[in-house]
């Protein structure tokens, strides 16, 4: 009897540990919400979402978050422009062309690329890629959106590649064989049969990569400069939502000030954007699995 009670006790303990993950999500939302609501008591939500000037640390503060959002979108777009074509090409190569030996050698190497700490990528962007780009683009500022965008693309390339490859591998062999039987080359089979068949899986991978790009912090904090600008030019210093949070965290901001609350409001916006992207990706992947299971 007592052993059965012990069993029940252990099970509840394990359950509580599993529930901690739900607690973490709830904790994130609560912590962000409390300070965000306090922030919106002082700054109208319309000004926050539509203002094009972000100068909360100035004597005459403005709280328009659009420059930060545009900065985030700009760097992420550059990263995606690098990572999506390159990641897809490498996924097609690894899934449809590469001999087993090559695949076994290349996949761990790609994993290393994904495991390099982001502060290291930041160093690389600032001290190597930016000077290199400046030789071709003389107008490029020492801090800019282009260099961290490219390096971030390199960082998320393995994610696009490995998840897309998984999706392509899940496409039934019969579809490929049908195409080959009709005389299609491997390229035609890959591009016209496998990729369309794996489309929702590949889209899920791309969206997840976008979410990673939006939330990436150190590369942009180091190499993009910390000047919120409402611009689409990738030649000049900009600031992303994540880099702003770092910038304020580095100073000694007293709790309860409006300045302290801005990072939670920006954090809330960041959390909601990545959350929406993650949900979309999960939903697409589930749909993709349904198609082929």
């Amino acid at each position: 009897m007592s052993s059965r009670r012990a069993e029940r006790f252990i099970e509840s303990l394990l359950f509580l540990c599993a529930l901690l993950s739900v607690g973490t999500t709830a904790g994130i939302i609560i912590v962000l919400a409390i300070e965000t609501f306090a922030f919106f008591r002082e700054v109208p939500i319309a000004e926050f979402l539509t203002g094009t000037e972000w100068t909360p640390l100035f004597a005459n503060p403005r709280f328009g978050v659009l420059p930060l959002m545009l900065g985030t979108a700009l760097v992420s777009a550059i990263a995606m422009a690098v990572a999506v074509p390159a990641g897809l090409m490498s996924a097609i190569y690894l899934s449809e062309y590469a001999p087993d030996g090559v695949r076994r050698a290349v996949k761990p190497a790609l994993e290393i690329l994904a495991g390099v700490p982001t502060v290291v990528y930041g160093y690389f962007a600032l001290t190597f890629v930016t000077p290199l780009l400046q030789q071709w683009l003389p107008g490029l500022s020492g801090f800019n959106a282009l260099s961290p965008g490219i390096v971030m693309g390199l960082m998320i390339l393995p994610l696009v590649s490995s998840l897309s490859e998984d999706a392509m591998q899940a496409v039934p062999r019969g579809l490929r064989e049908g195409a080959y039987a009709l005389g299609a080359t491997r390229m035609q089979t890959s591009v016209q049969v496998v990729v369309p068949a794996a489309f929702s899986g590949i889209t899920a991978a791309v969206i997840l990569a976008a979410s990673r790009a939006v939330g990436e912090t150190m590369i942009v904090a180091i190499a993009a400069g910390q000047q919120p600008r409402f611009t689409l030019s990738f030649f000049v210093p900009i600031e992303t939502m994540t880099a702003y949070i770092v910038q304020v965290s580095l100073g000694d901001t007293p709790q309860g000030t409006l300045e302290y609350r801005t990072i939670f409001a920006v954090g809330m916006l960041l959390f909601l954007s990545t959350f929406a992207l993650n949900l979309a990706s999960t939903w697409l992947r589930a749909r993709f699995r349904e198609e082929y299971n």
Partner: protein
């Protein structure tokens, strides 16, 4: 998915296109890996000259040539060990619940979905959670404890997912044999399932920790200091970690500090390489045993 071959050019042209495509794809792959090599070479070129015993055993300094990373290494070790201590039991317990008890109940599925989502929440958001929860609400200050608790939450999804995979490799015949001998479910898990999946669990833990040791943003968000002239001596001490020290040096305009940053990066990469090597060895032995 129509493949309109009637509209296709001659087979020689198509074969040439195929070859060009293959070459292009291979080129992209090689370029990405070459970029990795260039990255390592750049850091080596910039930092190898600064890397010596004095650099490893000195404290930070206003003068770049005298500065070292002793305090940051000690801080990183403190934080990572404590992160492991916090994340391992909770992560394994959660995984055991989901894999062995939870079944396909709606709640278990919800928890699973939640964990998958947590795995892709930006790390700096965890930093804001740590700031609001551990540093402020629980009054733990900007201590090693706050940092480790934050990183533990960040590492949990990875630990849970890899532990579940390790548990899944234990054949059900082991469990059934144990039940047949009259063992309870928990006795079966504790004496049979967990020991068998331990190498897999440890591999997952090391991989999670090797990601945590390179994390910078969440620790900056909880307010870990960027300049401290001493090493932590308890879990309640203020601290800094290697990536933050690197960030601090990268952000300075002087070339000498950039060299310090590069030397710090070399140490960080070496640390990561060691951890990953251990994980690979464990995985290798585990797979051989599994067969």
């Amino acid at each position: 998915m129509p493949v309109d071959l009637t509209a296709s050019p001659s087979s020689a042209t198509r074969r040439r296109a195929d070859l060009i495509f293959q070459a292009a794809a291979l080129f992209v792959l090689v370029a990405a890996l070459a970029a990795l090599a260039v990255l390592v070479a750049t850091v080596w070129r910039d930092g190898a000259g600064r890397l010596d015993w004095r650099f490893l055993t000195s404290f930070p300094s206003r003068r770049a040539a005298n500065a070292g990373i002793y305090h940051a290494i000690v801080g990183s070790v403190y934080v990572i060990v404590l992160t492991a201590v916090l994340a391992l039991p909770v992560g394994v317990a959660a995984a055991v619940y989901l894999e062995e008890y939870g079944g396909r109940s709606r709640l278990a599925r919800f928890i699973e979905l939640n964990i998958a989502n947590l795995a892709s929440v930006p790390s700096i958001i965890y930093g804001l959670l740590g700031l609001g929860l551990f540093v402020r609400a629980m009054g733990m200050g900007r201590s090693v404890m706050s940092g480790a608790a934050t990183l533990a939450l960040l590492a949990l999804p990875v630990v849970i997912l890899s532990t579940r995979e390790a548990l899944r490799t234990v054949p059900s015949s082991i469990r059934e044999g144990s039940y047949a001998l009259g063992a309870t479910q928990w006795q079966t898990i504790w004496h049979q399932v967990l020991p068998m999946s331990l190498p897999g669990i440890m591999t997952g833990l090391i991989l999670a920790l090797s990601r945590a040791i390179g994390e910078t943003a969440p620790l900056i968000a909880i307010g870990a200091l960027t300049y401290i002239p001493f090493a932590p001596d308890s879990i309640w001490s203020p601290f800094t970690v290697l990536p933050i020290q690197i960030f601090n040096w990268v952000s300075r305009p002087q070339v000498a500090f950039k060299q310090n940053a590069a030397a710090g990066i070399l140490v960080l990469l070496l640390l990561l390489l060691t951890m990953n090597a251990i994980a690979i060895v464990l995985r290798d032995r585990y797979q051989r045993k599994g067969r």
